[in-house]
Amino acid sequence: MPDHANSGMPWGTKLMAFTSVPTRQPNRRTTELLLVIGAWILGVAGTMQIAWATGEGMTPRLWITVVIVGILAGAMHVAVRLTAEYADPLFLPLATLLTILGLVMIYRIDVASALRAARNSAPVPTPDVYAQLTWFTVAVVLFIAVLVLVRDHRRLQRFTYTFGLIGLLGLLLPLLPVIGNTVNGATLWIRVFGLSFQPAEASKIFLTIFFAGYLVMKRDSLALVRTKVFGVGFPRPKDVGPLFVAWIISLGVLIFQRDLGTSLLFFGLFVVMLYIATQRRSWLIIGASLFSVGAILAYFAFGHVRLRVDIWWDPWGDANNTGYQLVQSLYGFASGGLFGSGLGQGFPEFVPFANTDFIVAAIGEELGLVGMCALLLFFGILIERGLRTAIAVRDSFGQLLAVGLSIVLALQLFVIVGGVTRLIPLTGLTTPFLSYGGSSLVANWVIIALLIRISDRARRPDVFVPSVDEAFTQVVRRV
């Protein structure tokens, strides 16, 4: 059409006129980039605030760290732009923001520990923030690897049982004699070549994939074959088998590894996925009953479980000993109040395990209730995007996988935040993205990669057929 070339109208205006066809969707990659940059700027500001408030100053090492974090975030954005063009634009910025906030708080606690050591003329401990940065680099590499290797999440379904086996093995590895490692009473770690790793963190992903694949195959028999008891339809004992297996595995984790949090996480995850797959509320009832039985049994059978509940009921009963962590955590939150002491101006190092289990207490103290609400809402939005992805994606496997991964994040958050604020008994779990610890950070980033992959599929136009007009326009322009 010669008039295009002669009209003098900008090409973009013409393009818009032509592309108002339903198959062309905005991909929001620029929104994502701007949000990632915003998260990075917040992190830089937080770092500078701490460096200034504690009198440490912005050392060259800090500047390098800040730049590296920026490069890593940028690399992930490029990877998403190239391999998952239509992905939800909020996953990456939110996870980046939370990771950066974690790095900032870990740096904050490093500074506090160093000052405390200097005060007691003790040797200054190695800062954790650089180790965490290294793990973040590993996480980014894995994130990109997942996006590049898994071009379609449905291919994961083929490996359902393989992943199930790997997941189970991961849970059992710490129990092996040579490489198994017990820290603070929980047998969760394996130690290979001097590196500690929590295989349960990887297991939660493998098992989620396994649950999703397994339930897609079995959900019809699980959902449709019922026996009525008191007017409520219950599945046949034969079909309940897998649920019992999950329950026993959870109890096993609890008994042999003394890890209440992980045990809760797996059981809750499986029950919820079962419910979603079958749409039968009876699974929730059975799950809740099994949970209650397990919880009561555990309370009476295991001292460490009973202790956790007793501390929760009355932390001040033994405030200087068993209740110490929780009491100090509550003092931290209380001292933060509405607006917090400000970064670098509180005493987060008073809480034991300040940069792992209790990192949220440090945030509550220095950023206050305002900061805590913002943090919880960021997580809320992240999980909501996960569920929205599950609703939007068209294949059942993708739906279940997206729900499962979102629930893994949600349960972790609830168990740990509820624990440190005394909403529920405290069980050791890391706060996703925030806590110091490589396995957890890497695993959670792989979850984000998978969610991005699924959401890219969900939002990608079904069949992308360039319209004649558009093709023609391009031809004109090239001429």
Partner: protein
């Protein structure tokens, strides 16, 4: 599968709200409660983030805050710790505060209402809240003279300006180093504190104002005042002063300190009886006047009142309902008569200040961080404890004690020193207490001082031997004589 996903979403939203509600509960509604809990170090540590105002003696900051460079920004430093410990007290991470650090805490940490304007200014200037300073009435020379005089003896010294009630010196021995209790190292604080509490000499006791001892013969000053006030006695009235005095209704005999009669005739004037500290004469006089008259005079001079300097002094006491022999013993400052060094200095000050007893105080003024004066203590009268005439008569009698009597070691050439010695038994086999109460110059006293030496040890010690020289040094320091 969308409906169950939405339902799970709703459940997760409820969990999120529960977390937010719970965090709000902890951080807002329970926050005040948690902050106040014992064992919460944060509140305490926040205090160390402020520059606490100094405690000043004339121009020396005897307690001040120094920046440390660690996370507890300020540390309390006492430039001459043990010397001023009975006044400043300590400011400890572990054991809280004592002394002026405690009573003037709100001024020093800047939270007092007096400092409201300063706080607001600092807020707008974006500066850290700074505390005000507390200017004491202490005369550093007198304080040092008393401290040096006490040396390794166990005891206390209080010096007062009679015309105003200003405490010029308040010294104890043994003392302690508040620096070691105010450090930032809880372990060493505990070690030192436990060492202090285990010490039988009780260095943490604020001896000058709470250490109670029988005043012995220095209480004869009160009895003399009561005798003059009765109108029945003059300095020349003759009293029986035999070698021994049989306590009424008993077979117990009271001796004089030198185991001799107070005069060859057995009769002695009131003036002489005070000058040679005649026990038999005063034991008799006590019963002549009666316990009620003695108690009334003692109360006019500050007994039975709890003074706040603002450090809280102990109440000195005269027994409530003594019988005749107990009254005799009380008249020579034994039995259940108990007095602090502060109290006996006040007795001296009342006589010296023409009978007018001023309320004692230790804080001269309070200043803001910009050194503006926020509050000045106005001297106030506690009681006209005796008439001007009687006060002048007793002053003359006390000058006689130093010139011709038992107080010879307090003589200062060119100056009339009024004084009274005392030595008190504290019980069988228990060490005695040596006292000296004095003021000078007699006609217009600038200082009244009481020295109390506990656990004096050997029986031959006396107020004149141990206590009078210390009183003399303090008087010389205040009058700037060397």
């Amino acid at each position: 599968m969308n409906r169950p996903i939405r339902r799970i979403g709703a459940v997760l939203a409820i969990l999120l709200l529960a977390m937010i509600a719970n965090v709000t509960y902890v951080q807002v509604f329970k926050a005040a409660d948690y902050r106040e809990r014992p064992g919460n170090q944060r509140q305490l540590l926040a205090q160390y983030d402020r520059e606490r105002g100094p405690i000043v003696a004339v121009t020396d900051a005897v307690a001040r805050s120094m920046e440390t460079g660690d996370s507890l920004r300020y540390e309390r430093v006492y430039s001459n710790g043990p010397l001023y410990a009975p006044i400043t007290g300590f400011d400890s991470l572990v054991y809280g505060k004592t002394g002026l650090e405690r009573t003037e805490n709100k001024i020093l940490n800047g939270s007092s209402d007096l400092l409201f304007v300063d706080r607001t200014k600092q807020l707008f200037a974006g500066r850290q809240v700074q505390g005000g300073s507390v200017i004491t009435t202490i005369n550093p020379d007198a304080q040092f003279a008393a401290f040096q005089g006490l040396g390794t003896k166990v005891g206390s010294v209080v010096a007062i300006e009679p015309s105003t009630g200003k405490i010029l010196a308040s010294v104890q021995s043994p003392s302690f180093d508040p620096n070691l209790l105010s450090s930032h190292n809880p372990a060493s604080i505990r070690t030192y504190y436990e060492k202090l509490t285990a010490d039988p000499k009780k260095p943490l006791l604020n001896r000058p104002i709470v250490g109670l001892n029988p005043p012995g013969s220095t209480f004869k000053l009160v009895v003399t005042a009561a005798a003059l006030a009765s109108g029945r006695f003059t300095p020349d009235s003759l009293l029986p002063g035999p070698k021994t005095y049989r306590l009424p209704n008993t077979t117990t005999y009271l001796n004089n300190w030198n185991r001799k009669a107070c005069s060859p005739t057995g009769m002695v004037s009131l003036r002489s009886a005070l000058a040679m500290s005649c026990n038999t004469a005063f034991a008799w006089l006590g019963n002549e006047l009666g316990a009620d008259a003695l108690r009334k005079q003692a109360q006019l001079m500050g007994f039975d009142t709890r003074f706040e300097l603002p450090l809280r002094a102990a109440r000195s006491t005269f027994p409530a309902d003594p019988d005749a022999p107990q009254t005799s013993l009380s008249a020579i400052g034994q039995f259940e008569v108990r007095a602090t060094a502060l109290q006996m200095a006040m007795v001296g000050a009342a006589i010296g200040n023409k009978g007018a007893l001023m309320n004692p105080f230790m804080v001269q003024e309070v200043r803001g961080p910009d050194l503006s004066i926020l509050r000045t203590t106005q001297p106030s009268i506690f009681n006209q404890a005796m008439t001007v005439t009687d006060a002048a008569i007793e002053t003359e009698m006390m000058v006689n004690v130093v010139k011709n009597g038992t107080g010879s070691n307090a003589r200062i050439s060119g100056i009339d020193v009024a004084g009274k010695t005392g030595t008190a038994q504290t019980g069988n086999d228990r060490p005695s207490v040596a006292w000296f109460v004095a003021f000078a110059p007699a006609n217009n006293p600038k200082v009244a001082v009481a020295v109390c030496i506990e656990q004096a040890g050997a029986a031959e010690i006396s107020g004149n031997g141990l206590a009078a020289p210390i009183a003399k040094k303090v008087i010389q320091a205040v009058l700037k004589l060397s």
